[in-house]
Structure formats: structure tokens, C-alpha cells
């Protein structure tokens, strides 16, 4: 390629982050550029590292539920649920049926609000501010329903070992479903823009390609991998009440940013449908069961967060403090695919690609 007279283009390094208007949380990427084209990315994380895994030495396993919920603000709901699933599997606790359906209901509401939040941030990353504002306006209505039923807008705090802490009366549940149907109709006004608008398509089609092979080899999870044509979703494991609900996996074959956008938009409507099914099939009964004793043994619970598959590994030895508490969040698993998707892109496309993995860095670093 190079002869004696040809010179290689000069490389510059531009730091992206840790503070950037488009990032919800700080991450540092050193972009190595050859004349506005990214050739290499060097990541470094650790700005939000709080050492939460080491906190098991001080807090007993019941208090760790509150710590687990507060690992992240956006996906807090399913973090708490995953921790409870892991401990319940270790201690062989059978959660009552009504609690399982309630957990599915709140998990799906959390998925809707997280995807709408992401859609707004994604629109902001290519400068479409009015779409960002309207997405977050619609999201407020979901958060109002959540606050009324659980007590918290951001940290739901509904899950405890052995069931849920709150219940929703059957009459109120029916009126919530009616309100959700009205919100779902409003969501069409923003997802239609994402799907069909000319400027959105220009900024996202063909950008950030991640081929099917790369997605498997690099261990991508969640909508990243489903947009590359691979059908993989941890909800198919059948935890909580997902085994009793009927739903189909959503995949796209575009492998680019637009495909990931469409996967998430379609998942919003699928989440609405799952919430209606859970509310419809909810049985009567208690919502909690008393749990005594300490956990002995180990288990790795796998659940589907809005960003992908999360793994909660707990190991206990019969005392009230756990031996090991390890969380592997989907954003951490999506970092190698991000480095691959960024290669070869232009500098203005970097925020768009960084946002398409839905970075939740406080989850990734705990």
C-alpha cells in the first residue's frame, strides 16, 4: 500500500467524555482519528465506581436489596427484582403467584419508561430537541402511574425477598390499564417520527454497523444483538410469570443504528401488551411469603433489563452476610461491540453510536 513517497495520514487523539452533553453518565473514550475518521477507540471507565460489590461485607443480605435497587436510577426496578430472584432461588422460596404477575407488570412499566427515556436522549444526540422534549413529556405520565402504585418515581422499591411490598387493588388495576391504553396511543406520535422522518433516517441508517458474526463473537446483549438478527432474550427463561404470557421476540436485520432504534420502539408496544396480559391474568392471593434463615449456596439469576441480559450471582455460606455478590450488567457486556461499531465512523456520528448501546455506566461500574 505505501510506497517510499506516500505518507500515512497523521493520527490525532480526541477525548470523548467523561463529560459530554449526550452522555447520561460519565465514560471516557479516547478516539484515535485519521482526519475525522475514527480508526481506534480506547475506553476507560471507573468514574462512578462505588464498590457496591464489597458492601456485602457490611450489610446483611436483606439490606442488600436496597443497595441493589440503587445501583442505577434508570433500570433500578429490575435490579431489585434480579437480586430477589437470585436469593429466592438460593433459599428455595416459592413466591406467591400474584406477586409474580405484579413483578411482571412493574417490570414492563419500567421497560416502557426506560425505552422512552432512551428515545428522547437518542433524538437529542443528533440534535432533534423537540422530539426529545415530547418523549420525556409522555414518559412523565408513566412515572405518575408508577409513583401512585409503588411510592417512588425513579426508585420503585417494590420488590422484597419473598414477594412484593405493595399490592394494587383490582379495581385500580383496571383503571390503570385504561390510562395505559391512552398513553400507548400517544406514543405513536413519537415512534412514527422515529420510524419515518427523513432527517432521522439520514442520521441513523448505515451508521454503526455490527454484523451478525461480530455480535455473537463480541458477546453483545439486548437490543444490540436483536437488531443484528439474533433472537435472544432472557425473558424466554420463564422467570416470574413470563412463562405464562404469550409474546414474540422482536428482531431486525438492519444491523445499524436505525435497526436498534426500531427494535426499541417496537419493544415499547410489546411491553404495553405484556402489561395488559399480566393485569388481565393476575390471580388473587397474598403478595408475600415470610422468609427466615440465611442463604447457603450459589445461583446466577439472569433477567432481561431494558438494555439487555443482566446476571446476578450470589453466593452465601449460611451467615447473614453474603460471600459474593456479582452483577454483570448489559452495558458492561456491550462495551466490546461498541468499540467495534465505532471503527470507521465519522466524528459527528460518534455520539449517535455511543448512545445506541444505551449506555448506563452507573450500572456497568457499580
Amino acid at each position: 500500500m505505501s510506497t517510499a513517497t506516500e505518507t500515512k495520514p497523521k493520527r490525532t487523539i480526541i477525548p470523548f467524555g467523561p463529560q459530554h452533553p449526550v452522555l447520561p453518565e460519565p465514560i471516557h473514550l479516547d478516539l484515535v482519528l485519521e482526519d475525522e475518521k475514527v480508526v481506534e477507540v480506547i475506553p476507560s471507565i471507573g468514574f462512578i465506581h462505588r464498590g457496591l460489590e464489597k458492601l456485602v461485607e457490611k450489610k446483611d443480605f436483606q439490606e442488600m436489596t436496597y443497595v441493589a435497587e440503587r445501583i442505577c436510577g434508570i433500570c433500578s426496578c429490575i435490579h431489585g427484582h434480579s437480586y430477589c430472584e437470585a436469593i429466592e432461588n438460593v433459599m428455595n422460596v416459592q413466591v406467591p403467584e400474584r406477586a409474580k404477575y405484579l413483578r411482571v407488570f412493574w417490570d414492563e412499566l419500567s421497560r416502557i419508561h426506560s425505552h422512552i427515556l432512551w428515545a428522547g436522549l437518542f433524538a437529542d444526540s443528533f440534535g432533534f430537541e423537540s422530539l426529545f422534549m415530547h418523549s420525556w413529556r409522555i414518559r412523565e405520565k408513566i412515572l405518575d402511574i408508577v409513583e401512585e402504585t409503588t411510592g417512588g418515581r425513579v426508585i420503585f422499591g417494590y420488590c422484597k425477598i419473598g414477594g412484593t411490598r405493595r399490592d394494587i387493588a383490582n379495581g385500580r388495576l383496571k383503571s390503570i390499564v385504561t390510562e395505559l391504553k391512552a398513553i400507548e396511543k400517544e406514543c405513536h406520535s413519537i415512534t412514527d417520527v422515529f420510524e419515518k422522518d427523513y432527517s432521522v433516517k439520514k442520521r441513523t441508517k448505515g451508521i454503526g454497523m455490527l454484523s451478525k458474526d461480530d455480535a455473537v463473537k463480541l458477546g453483545a446483549v439486548g437490543p444490540m444483538v436483536r437488531a443484528s438478527g439474533i433472537a435472544s432474550d432472557a425473558r424466554k427463561l420463564g422467570y416470574a410469570a413470563y412463562g405464562n404470557l404469550t409474546w414474540e421476540l422482536i428482531t431486525e436485520s438492519g444491523c445499524d443504528c436505525h435497526a436498534r432504534l426500531m427494535v426499541r420502539c417496537r419493544e415499547i408496544y410489546q411491553a404495553f401488551d405484556l402489561a395488559y396480559q399480566a393485569a388481565d391474568k393476575m390471580p388473587d392471593g397474598p403478595v408475600e411469603i415470610k422468609v427466615t434463615g440465611n442463604p447457603t449456596g450459589e445461583f446466577a439469576a439472569r433477567l432481561e433489563q431494558p438494555r439487555g441480559e443482566v446476571i446476578y450471582y450470589v453466593k452465601g455460606n449460611g451467615t447473614k452476610n453474603l460471600v459474593r455478590f456479582r452483577v454483570r450488567t448489559p452495558t458492561f457486556a456491550n462495551i466490546p461491540p461498541l468499540l467495534k461499531a465505532l471503527e470507521g465512523c465519522e466524528l459527528p456520528d460518534v455520539p449517535v453510536i455511543v448512545l445506541t448501546i444505551d449506555p448506563c455506566i452507573s450500572c456497568a461500574e457499580r
Binding site: H28, P43, S44, I45, G46, F47, H49, G51, E53, K54, E57, K58, E85, N89, V216, K217, L218, G219, A234, K236, L237, G238, Y239, A240, F299, A300, A301, R302, E309, I311, Y313, K315, T319, N321, V323, R324, R326, R328, F332, A333, I335, P336, P337, E365
Partner: protein, 128 residues
């Protein structure tokens, strides 16, 4: 969800060949977990069709050196660099070695002494 989770303990020298075998059979790497204690237990979990299989190696704390599996699974580089930065384990033949700069921390290897001290009966720092 009470799925069967199979864990088999192997020697650390067998690790790269086992990883290559799993890659050929189409498994994906799910996560790598290091449990502190003496010896350190490092678990590598693989998944295919929603079934989880794990390999576990025991490494003595004094001499924590393990081979890397980035030869077959490039995505393992984040997990192995994280283990180097948090636990102080040395990983050999890493495809991309950040040499301790992956995690920007004020205290180097904060989890190195985890799991050794007994948990204190601590009611916390309360201001009276």
C-alpha cells in the same frame, strides 16, 4: 426460575483449550466472576440456547496468575482487565492489556483484601 446450572472445576492450564472448544460449539461468553477467598475461585460462564454452563478454576491467592481466553473470546478483555484492576490478578497473553488503566480508581486493587476479614457487627457511623 429453577434452571439447572452446571459448574465443573478444571485446572487453570486447561482453560484456554476448554474456551476454544466452547467457541467452536457456538457458545457465547456470559460473564467471568472472581470470588475472593483463599484460594480465589474464578468462574467462566457460557450460554447456548438459554442453558448456562460454567467452568471454575481455583487459584492460590499468593500466586494469582491466570491464562487469558481472549484468543477465542475477544470480548473477555473487559472482564479480565477488570479482574486485574480490582483484584490484582495477573492475566497472561491478554489481547489488549490496559496494564491497570482500564478502571480509573483512586485506590488501586480495592478488592484485593476482600473476603479475608470477618464482617464487623457494625451499626454504622451515626452522629449522636
Amino acid at each position: 426460575m429453577t434452571e439447572q446450572q452446571l459448574i465443573s472445576t478444571i485446572q487453570k492450564t486447561e482453560l484456554p483449550s476448554k474456551a476454544a472448544e466452547m467457541f467452536k460449539q457456538g457458545f457465547r461468553l456470559v460473564y467471568v466472576c472472581c470470588t475472593p477467598g483463599d484460594p480465589l475461585e474464578i468462574t467462566y460462564s457460557f450460554d447456548k440456547d438459554y442453558q448456562l454452563f460454567s467452568f471454575r478454576i481455583m487459584v492460590p491467592r499468593a500466586e494469582a496468575v491466570i491464562p487469558s481466553i481472549t484468543g477465542s473470546y475477544f470480548c473477555a478483555l473487559t472482564y479480565e482487565n477488570e479482574m486485574q484492576d480490582l483484584f490484582g490478578i495477573k492475566v497472561e497473553n491478554l489481547a489488549v492489556d490496559f496494564k491497570g488503566n482500564f478502571y480509573k480508581l483512586q485506590v488501586k486493587t480495592p478488592y484485593k483484601d476482600a473476603g479475608l476479614a470477618q464482617p464487623k457487627a457494625d451499626t454504622g457511623a451515626q452522629q449522636k
